[in-house]
């Protein structure tokens, strides 16, 4: 169970945006954040990952407090057990596919999980290639796989598929569903694509003006 209660003021092109989020996410849920650009979706992911400090509130995951303003507690991103996938892949260009994955392993940890993941994602034949030699879909598959090497409790997907063509999108969506179920994750997906939200998530949070204005199953969005 993940309990998020955050307030934060973002300064955007249209002036300040006051984020005020209070939501619980249960184990096994795949929740989509949906809303217009600039409504604070990516910032929420960054705050959950520890890449951004909220102004106030708490973040609690599986009874472990990651952030509490009143207790002056802030767990660094390195210790949060979060996997995050960005739209721009963020693969390390100086490393091969395999090195990108082994980089995520804690020191001294056996590389068995890397081999397993390479098998599952059918990336074994690409493991010695550098990222710039790969297609967008392959890069995002690697980024997704890399985010899982540390067996995170929470998977954060920041518009991971928006730069891909529809065929590659569908394939990657299947991988996301597979991983979400297999690793028993709490997954939060930021997406603008309604069919994608329909296919992947079992709950949608609609954001507007920094607040959740709707918390519903995906089908209710088109109803």
């Amino acid at each position: 169970m993940m309990k998020i209660n955050l307030t934060h003021t973002l300064i955007g092109a249209d002036g300040p945006l006051h984020l005020n989020i209070d939501v619980d996410i249960h184990d096994g849920e795949l929740v989509s954040l949906y809303g217009p650009t600039g409504s604070g979706k990516s910032s929420i992911l960054r705050m959950i990952a520890g890449l951004m400090k909220p102004d106030d509130g708490t973040i609690e995951v599986d009874r472990a407090m990651w952030y509490s303003k009143s207790n002056r507690l802030f767990t660094k991103p390195q210790y949060r057990h979060v996997g995050i996938v960005f739209q721009d892949y963020s693969l390390f260009p100086n490393m091969t596919v395999r090195e990108n994955l082994t980089f995520a392993l804690p020191q001294g940890e056996p590389t068995r999980i890397v081999d397993e993941l390479l098998d599952i994602t059918e990336l074994k034949n690409l493991q010695h290639k550098k990222p710039h030699l790969l297609s967008g879909g392959q890069k995002q598959r690697i980024a997704l796989t890399r985010a899982l090497v540390r067996k995170p409790r929470v998977l954060l997907l920041d518009e991971p598929l928006s730069a891909l063509d529809s065929e590659m999108r569908a394939k990657l969506q299947d991988y996301i569903l597979k991983f979400h179920a297999e690793f028993k994750l709490k997954t939060i997906l930021v997406s603008h694509d309604l069919p994608e939200i329909m296919k992947l998530s079992n709950r949608v949070l609609v954001l507007e003006g920094g607040r959740i204005i709707k918390d519903c199953p995906p089908r209710a969005l088109i109803a």
Binding site: L51, K76, R80, F86, P93, N94, H132
Partner: protein, 225 residues
């Protein structure tokens, strides 16, 4: 007859300065690239100051600071037995300050051109700042590191005003190639001055060509990515 001592001294000064600047410049550039402290603009301005300041101004104040007539210079001399004025170590200190922007600025710009999400990805993969710097950031700004080293090295080779003020013209100690050229002109030995100058000109041209080749290749690599 060629006197190679100024060449060797210039090379020694440039190598020592570049090596120290690399060690100091990488952490400083990293801090300038990623720090959110407001004071960093002051530090940035201080680092860039030698680009706009006449070298004689920098040399003059260093001369005053290192002079045994003044407190700092006297303390150095009395307690540490160090004399920076008219000595090779003094030249190194002056060169470090004088060439610092040529090392720091390319590296800072290299860090700033990397996507911020590379750092974010490394942090969420459990890696600390040092590991991220050594394994992710530095290997991806090799061209900037090389440019910084080459420019700092070349700039130190060409310095004149600062060297003249702080080091004077002592053979084998502070008489670098630019001072030797000036000295030969003063003595009306134009042939010798010409030979030194051609060597310096050819070297500087070669260095700049190398920098542009590196940057061109780097830009092409980025375009491919």
């Amino acid at each position: 007859m060629w006197d190679f001592a100024p060449f060797i001294l210039t090379l020694k000064l440039s190598l020592v300065t570049t090596a120290i600047l690399f060690i100091v410049g990488v952490p400083l550039a990293y801090w300038l690239a990623y720090s959110r402290f407001k004071i960093k603009v002051v530090v940035e301005a201080l680092v860039a100051l030698p680009i706009v300041l006449p070298p004689s101004v920098l040399g003059f104040y260093l001369l005053l600071a290192f002079s045994p007539q003044n407190t700092f210079g006297r303390l150095l001399h009395e307690y540490l037995d160090i004399q920076f004025v008219f000595s090779f170590p003094g030249l190194v200190i002056a060169s470090l300050i004088y060439s610092m922007p040529f090392m720091v600025q390319p590296i800072q710009s290299g860090f700033q051109q990397l996507p911020r999400t590379l750092l974010d990805a490394a942090y969420t993969l459990g890696k600390g700042r040092m590991t991220t710097l050594i394994k992710v950031l530095l290997p991806n700004i090799k061209a900037s590191l090389l440019t910084g080293c080459i420019l700092a090295f070349a700039h130190t080779i060409g310095e004149f005003g600062v060297v003249l003020m702080v080091g004077g013209n002592i053979p084998d100690e502070t008489r670098v190639i630019s001072i030797a050229i000036y000295d030969e002109v003063e003595s009306m030995n134009y042939d010798k001055a010409n030979m030194y100058s051609i060597a310096l000109l050819a070297f500087s041209f070669m260095i700049l060509t190398i920098v542009y080749i590196i940057n061109y290749n780097h830009r092409r690599k980025i375009e491919i990515l």
